[in-house]
């Protein structure tokens, strides 16, 4: 049968089946099982109304249970069994095998880097774009252009950026933008300024900013540690974790500053960007930042517009300059939204697969967990280790999952 025809039939059967199910099951409930007439009419109506929600929910619950909840446990089970031994229980054997593989540590390390860089830059650029575009007349057009990469598939984006990173031999014209720009630098004072001093300064400012945040957090933790009630203990732990990660990032960026300033850049040679270990991960991350910035911008722009005008006016009257207004008045008021954007992008990063799969397939030390898992499951056919790495991703998602559920519970209560 032709797939298009099959698709059409599926739509008709699927949609018709759903509507038919809802209609007839309701009819059955009201007419046959508990008819709203006769001796027990009142009792029957109550009974029917008690059952009806589950009629409405059943297909969704069934699909959710089968396609999302069950696999979590099935994967957990697969990760502690050995497929070759007929599915015998082997405890943590798969995990031990996974931990012994250098490729896994490479993937985990890269993932950590992705987890810091991509949400940070996407949110940062998004905030910048939101703030700037909100105040100019053609802001909506600019917004929609920055937002556009959201519609482009990761694979499409991979092709787009592969063209940007393309390399030609030294005696030919470069067709990749990055190499063309790179060959424009000749190693003179201007090159040093643009490629080494400016990025180093940016990194130092960034690190100082973070260090200040860590300092503030540590101080509030030390001072208010005892006085908090039991409900905010989770928040306390989260803050401590956040401070630890931030401190690590500060250390990382200061290290980068040193290596950046001491590096001798190979001027005049076209670079194969995607094969330079360590830095090539950043070229892959740029693709995701490019895609996710629009998302951050849209959400943050809505949040910025929601800020009460009076607070800003008051600040202006008090003589605050635009930068103070932005950092001291606006950003604190949208910090909740910033956290939401950050965590949403974090989830996307944890699942990132297509970009690495299409651009480097994990070669040249660019492996990430999702691609490592795919490698194990479908290339090496090793379900045990593959499931173990899938569980690792799940483990990394769990804090965010718990946080989201906690917030949702608080809101619906």
């Amino acid at each position: 049968m032709h797939p298009a025809l099959q698709g059409l039939i599926t739509i008709i059967v699927g949609v018709g089946g759903c509507i038919g199910y809802f209609y007839f099951s309701n009819q059955f409930l009201d007419r046959v099982l508990f008819p709203a007439s006769g001796k027990h009419a009142g009792r029957n109506i109550n009974r029917a109304n008690r059952i009806r929600p589950w009629l409405f929910l059943f297909p969704a619950l069934f699909a959710l249970g089968l396609y999302l909840a069950y696999p979590v446990f099935a994967t957990l089970w697969l990760s502690v069994t050995d497929r070759n031994a007929g599915g015998a229980f082997i405890g943590l054997g798969n995990y031990r095998q996974m931990l012994d593989e250098p490729k896994f540590w490479e993937a985990l390390g890269n993932n950590m880097l992705w987890l810091i860089v991509v949400p940070a830059f996407s949110t940062g650029f998004g905030l910048l774009a939101a703030q700037l575009t909100d105040r100019i007349s053609w802001g909506n057009i600019a917004k929609s252009l920055i937002f556009m990469p959201m519609a482009i598939s990761f694979v499409g984006a991979a092709v787009i950026w592969k063209l940007v990173y393309d390399t030609r031999p030294v005696n030919q014209d470069q067709i990749g933008v990055l190499n063309a720009a790179w060959l424009g630098f000749d190693g003179g004072p201007f090159s040093v300024l643009v490629l080494q001093i400016v990025p180093a300064l940016v990194l130092i400012v960034f690190a100082a900013f973070l260090a200040y945040g860590v300092f503030q957090m540590a101080r509030s933790l030390l001072r208010g540690g005892q006085s908090h009630s039991a409900t905010s203990r989770l928040g306390l732990v989260l803050r401590a974790a956040f401070a630890a990660v931030a401190a690590w990032v500060v250390w990382l960026s200061l290290g980068s500053v040193v290596s950046l300033l001491s590096a001798k850049l190979p001027y005049g040679e076209p670079q194969t960007w995607l094969t330079i270990p360590y830095w090539n991960s950043f070229f892959l991350m740029a693709v995701l930042v490019w895609i996710q910035t629009g998302f951050a911008m849209v959400i943050l722009s809505a949040a910025l517009r929601g800020i009460p005008e009076e607070t800003i006016e008051a600040a202006v009257i008090d003589g605050a300059n635009p930068f103070q207004i932005f950092f001291r008045i606006k950003v604190p008021q949208i910090s909740g939204t910033i956290v939401v954007v950050w965590t949403t992008i974090t989830i996307v990063v944890l699942k990132v697969f297509d970009i690495v799969f299409a651009m480097t397939n994990g070669q040249w030390e660019t492996q990430v967990l999702a691609n490592y898992m795919y490698d194990k499951l479908f290339r090496a056919n090793d379900w045990g280790v593959g499931s173990a790495s899938a569980m690792t991703i799940m483990l990394l998602v769990t804090p965010i999952l718990a946080w989201n559920v906690y917030n949702a519970r608080r809101e619906t209560r």
């Binding site: 797939p3 298009a4 099959q6 698709g7 599926t10 699927g14 949609v15 759903c18 309701n26 008690r50 929600p53 409405f56 929910l57 297909p59 969704a60 619950l61 699909a63 959710l64 089968l66 396609y67 999302l68 909840a69 696999p71 994967t75 910048l128 700037l132 575009t133 100019i136 929609s144 252009l145 920055i146 556009m148 482009i152 598939s153 694979v155 499409g156 092709v159 787009i160 950026w161 063209l163 030919q172 067709i175 990749g176 933008v177 063309a180 910035t293 849209v298 959400i299 949040a303 005008e309 939401v340 954007v341 989830i347 697969f353 297509d354 379900w383 899938a390 799940m394 998602v397 519970r409």
Partner: protein, 379 residues
């Protein structure tokens, strides 16, 4: 905020920063778009940013051809090297060792007493004492400035060439076949569930809502092996049915979450009044809730459409079997990246074919997309 009405330097800085930001974000996509309209030769020789301007470059050798005529006792072949009349030659030559040996107007001896001259507009005149007959005529190397030139040839090849086994036409329809049912079916299922979670009272409702929120972030990586095994066990195997079911399952949490959040905000009075008037829940849902929820339905539909159209992983695992008959566009492009990594004209065109539809949907329905994003994450 219009507190500073006069154009301060800061306002200018703001305009310039936005221009830079937009240019940065647009530049990569424009590069691919422009490249898809250039020939392989153009792409390989110059960066796409040159394509928009008149440029001087060395053209590949052109062998002279044309009908012979006799003028004043000499045998002459004359014509123009180029189809276009906008080309201007700056240098030319007759051998690959010295392609820039002559300037337009030079008369050059090409052996056997024959002489050749090429004018700046590409017009040439080859004359000799004897008939050229079947002998090989000389080749001409030119360095010329040519105006921008674009072609639809790549699209013709990628989409309509029946001899092209790596074409995108079949993959395009396969993607469409995956996408449409995978977008519509979850909406129907989720809408009923969302109504129950928003407007019906029953024990365990809050718990279910929390569960949906939790499932929102479960990585679908976990689902691959168990579900593939399940599909094989119940006889679905790899195919469209499997991929439709998988997309339905994976799309449901977001669908339920978005729709429930929207439905909860609908005015309570309408629903209560309908109840008092004796409408059943089914009637309330179909006649009142569903029409009122159109914006939320549209938001989710766009999300799901973009997600299923752009998806690679689910299609790789649940759809594409070893015959490759059911390949989708994303998979096709990954294949091309492997086999045709250097053929940018094919890669760029194929990628753009797959990007075009989501871009149209994006620009046409951006309003709903933004609304959905806001409802889905800021809550």
């Amino acid at each position: 905020m219009r507190l500073s009405s006069k154009k301060s330097p800061l306002t200018w800085a703001m305009h310039i920063s936005v221009v830079v930001l937009v240019a940065l974000w647009l530049f990569p996509t424009v590069g691919l778009f422009v490249s898809s309209f250039r020939t392989a030769d153009q792409i390989a020789n110059t960066g796409w940013w040159n394509a928009l301007f008149t440029q001087e470059r060395q053209a590949p050798a052109i062998r002279i051809s044309g009908d012979e005529s006799v003028v004043d006792g000499e045998f002459v072949i004359a014509g123009n090297l180029f189809d276009s009349d906008k080309v201007e030659i700056s240098k030319w030559g007759t051998s690959s060792r010295a392609p820039n040996a002559f300037v337009p107007g030079d008369v050059v001896d090409v052996g056997d007493g024959a002489s050749l001259t090429v004018a700046a507009d590409g017009g040439f005149r080859l004359s000799g004492p004897e008939s050229f007959g079947d002998s090989r005529l000389p080749r001409v190397f030119t360095t010329a400035t040519a105006p921008p030139e674009f072609t639809l040839q790549n699209y013709r090849f990628v989409l309509f060439d029946p001899g092209n086994r790596e074409g995108m036409a079949k993959a395009f329809f396969n993607t469409l076949t995956v996408t449409i049912p995978a977008t519509i079916i979850p909406i129907v299922i989720a809408a009923f569930a969302a109504y129950a979670l928003a407007w019906m009272r029953f024990p365990g409702r809050a718990l279910l809502i929390a569960a949906v929120v939790g499932l929102l972030v479960v990585p679908l990586q976990l689902a691959l092996i168990p579900l593939l095994r399940l599909h094989n066990d119940i006889g679905i195997g790899k195919g469209y049915l499997g991929v439709w079911l998988a997309h339905t399952g994976f799309g449901l949490p977001l669908a339920i979450y978005l729709l429930r959040n929207y439905m909860v905000g609908l005015p309570r009075d309408i629903i209560e009044n309908a109840r008092v008037d004796g409408a059943t829940d089914f009637q309330i849902f179909v006649k009142i809730i569903l029409p009122l929820s159109f914006p939320a339905l549209a938001s989710f539909a766009i999300f799901q459409f973009l997600w299923t159209w752009n998806d690679l992983l689910v299609a790789l695992v649940f759809l594409i079997d070893s015959t490759g008959e059911t390949t989708v566009m994303t998979k096709q492009i990954v294949e091309l990246l492997g086999t045709r990594g250097g053929n940018w004209e094919i890669l760029a065109t194929s990628a753009f074919v797959s990007i075009a539809v989501p871009l149209v949907v994006f620009f046409a329905m951006q309003k709903y997309l933004v609304r959905g994003l806001l409802a889905g994450s800021v809550k």
